[in-house]
Symmetry: C3
Subunit: 348 residues, 3 copies
């Protein structure tokens, strides 16, 4: 694909300075750029490298000087560059050229919007609807009565169970599983009896779900993932969770059933959240934390059991001093013991 | 599927009160129930809602009053309801109507019992046996010499390696992997040499295995999962483990090789268990615990390193007080230091 | 497959004592061995069991006595046995006999070396190259421009994204995902904008990757896994990581982006490593540790936040004594309080 610099400027709503008619074939970082590429410069210290580079054009900050080569001025050059990269490197196509692979098992009742790509060895169940320009890659399974939005990319072997809903521009990476049964049982006469899992999963717009991540279906209603939330590899989201918008859930986070999160929540890697908790807006939770209590908005949390960041750091620092402190305490106690009978002496 | 209330009463061995001949088409919770549905009531406070609802029948406690609509009295109405839901919503069917999909790669030596469903893009290896009414869904791979019981559901892309055995009524969710090689190496001349993984996995009756969970094969003999045990998403069970009956292993639990567990063990999310340990019956282990030691039966455990629940709570409470205690200790020490030379003063 | 004892001795470069012409059909441990099998003996206390066993031959230590049956003397009998087991039990073959399954979607530009096996329902994208004797099993997806070495085994449903490189003798277990996009976003105007993920993954020789494990592609360059490194099930390796040679990464380890590790690093189960850290050679990290800092070579580490092993053990021991120590401190304070006004009294 080749586009003009003028078209690139329109993609990112930037200000074109210089010749907009030149064709650009790819977007590459400064160190790799070749003639015909657009690149980006974030910082004035790289201006001379950009001047010397083979790149034909660049996204630059709004206050960047010009040097004869065309530039597109934008508030955030890397963000603009990412847009260009994504357009140039769109991975929507299946390994073969067929738009609807002849091996795909698509139930006759399925609605496929224009420009949908369906790869080989895929199955789409009765009553499902697939939006325009969506890419269903090799081996993907979409259950019955699912609704998939526009410009969605389902990478190889993604599985959607029945009744699930994906918004627009959702990306699900290989082996993500959306809508498997929640882990709900009732114990009766010594057995764990499976509780009904009649709900579904509803995923908002612009959500990305990592490789091997799992989002379980609700018990009666939907498990929800809010618009713009990004979920990393091997994350587990339990049944009935209501995850807010623009959350960042890093790898191997586990969220038990019926948890709600606000908007702009960040959980670092391997955080665990117990069931039925409420996490407010803009809460940040440090790696490996174990959350057993509700958290109000705007808190930065850490540790297991989780506390505020500052309290946890104080506790961690104190724990490091504890062995020496116990020795000191023993010395004090020994003096006391010469005056009165001791109890708890073995503590130190 | 439509059944009579009389038949429903027989399914759950309940006491029918009222007209048993009426047809019932589905089971739905009270708030969603429509005419022709059976619902359930657990608590007397919902009796009036049930009386006012559109549902045609209900599972009710054994002491519930009647109101003209037929009821089925049972000791546990939700459990009975769950049985009905599962029967009405059995997900055994593949997206297409074919019982044995023409694309399925079934070795000529495979034995398929009556009423087996095999979905598209599946493979079943030489010498394997599949029990009656079992559902092998899209993309499932069953290796060689596997034995799969009755009424088993293997969701899309489940993989059974060679020689594995599944009992009756096992459910494995999408992308579960049963029988991959254990993580066993011997170091020789600076390399990790792969140890033989000649065993298999034997899964008991009524076991459920979550999406993306992995159970590794034994080194020489079987890794075993006992009857009725439920395993959540993304759980890892190492080679040679002998997991007892009716365990509940929550999401992202990791159990290293050669661990044995008793019956009715519960591990909350993200628990880790080191290799070669023995966990007794009815042990409950709190979320994120790290188990490095054997645990006797009937203990409730918590923390890393794991201790009894009460000891861990005491330690956690004490740690919260530690920063203030160190300040206090410093004050005491300062007084002593005015009388004698200090050592370890920097501890506080 | 049947080989002579002489051939077995050559496989493992051992010293044959006795009749090398006898045919051997399998390798089994002492307790299971039958006539026609080779077994192994590691310790003199098992010599009598070996003498009494039905096995036709054995791998034995270099100083083992002979007993009339042929033996192969080697420095490490189990290692030699493992070699024999792997040769006898090579799992390279697909469930059906076809070398290249007719359902496989192989782009015309793909280069397949001699003796490659490609299973059913597989896809290999444009420009990829597959080395000699490599086994691509059922449902595997290899993207575009991938390079796969010799004697590689890709178990069912492994997914390689575009541009990835696997060395020789790599084993990837079912559902491993290599090359999915890294978890990189830039926040702009309240949204998380996907950062370009233009790199790839390069996996060295003799690497094993567990079931469901994920290795993300680099942002601009490669994520690398060094020769001989073994990765267990459900491990996550973030984008841009440079993992050294002969590492052992146990189950559910999570390594965030841009981490480098030296050679012979061992991480036990559920370890987490924060982004952009450097871990030296021969570092061993205990289970569940949380690494937030660089670690120099030859250290043994434990805990969260991670410390040296000995410091962590001291802290853990001290914490166990803390509740009693706080009681003791309170007693001392109470005495002081009778003499002067207290502050921080509530600490104990």
């Amino acid at each position: 694909m080749t586009v003009t610099i003028q078209e690139l400027a329109e993609w990112v709503r930037g200000e074109l300075v210089g010749d907009g008619g030149q064709p650009i074939a790819d977007a590459r970082p400064l160190t790799d750029a070749r003639p015909g590429d657009i690149t980006f410069v974030e910082d004035a210290k790289y201006y001379s490298a950009w001047h010397a580079s083979a790149a034909s054009a660049a996204f630059v900050p709004t206050d960047a000087p010009v040097n004869g080569k065309p530039v597109i001025r934008v508030p955030d050059p890397l963000a603009a560059f990412a847009v260009a990269v994504q357009r140039f490197h769109a991975r929507g196509s299946a390994p073969t050229a067929a738009r609807i692979d002849p091996t795909a098992r698509i139930h006759p009742s399925v609605f496929l919007a224009p420009d949908v790509t369906v790869g080989p060895f895929t199955a789409i169940g009765e009553g499902s609807r697939i939006g325009p320009r969506t890419s269903i890659q090799t081996g993907v399974v979409v259950g019955r009565n699912c609704t998939v939005g526009e410009d969605v990319i389902l990478h190889p072997h993604v599985v959607l169970y029945d009744d699930c809903v994906l918004g627009n521009r959702v990306i699900a990476h290989a082996h993500a599983v959306i809508g498997a049964d929640g882990f709900g049982y009732r114990s009766a006469t010594g057995k764990h009896l499976k509780a009904p899992q009649l709900g579904n999963v509803e995923v908002g717009d612009d959500v990305e779900i990592g490789a091997g991540a799992t989002v379980d279906r609700g018990t009666f209603g939907p498990t929800r993932i809010g618009d713009g939330t990004k979920i990393d590899n091997l994350v587990m989201i339990g049944h009935n969770c209501q995850i807010g918008r623009h959350n960042l859930l890093c790898s191997q986070v586990g969220i038990a059933g019926s948890v709600t999160t606000g908007d702009y929540v960040v959980m670092a890697g391997q955080v665990g959240v117990a069931d039925h908790l409420a996490i407010g807006d803009r809460v940040t939770i440090g790696a490996k934390a174990g959350v057993h209590t509700d958290i109000e908005s705007n808190n930065r949390m850490l540790g297991f059991p989780v506390t505020t960041y500052h309290e946890q750091l104080r506790m961690m620092a104190a724990l490091r001093k504890l062995p020496a402190a116990l020795a000191l305490l023993k010395r004090l106690t020994d003096r006391f013991d010469s005056e009165e009978p001791a109890e708890g002496k073995d503590a130190a």
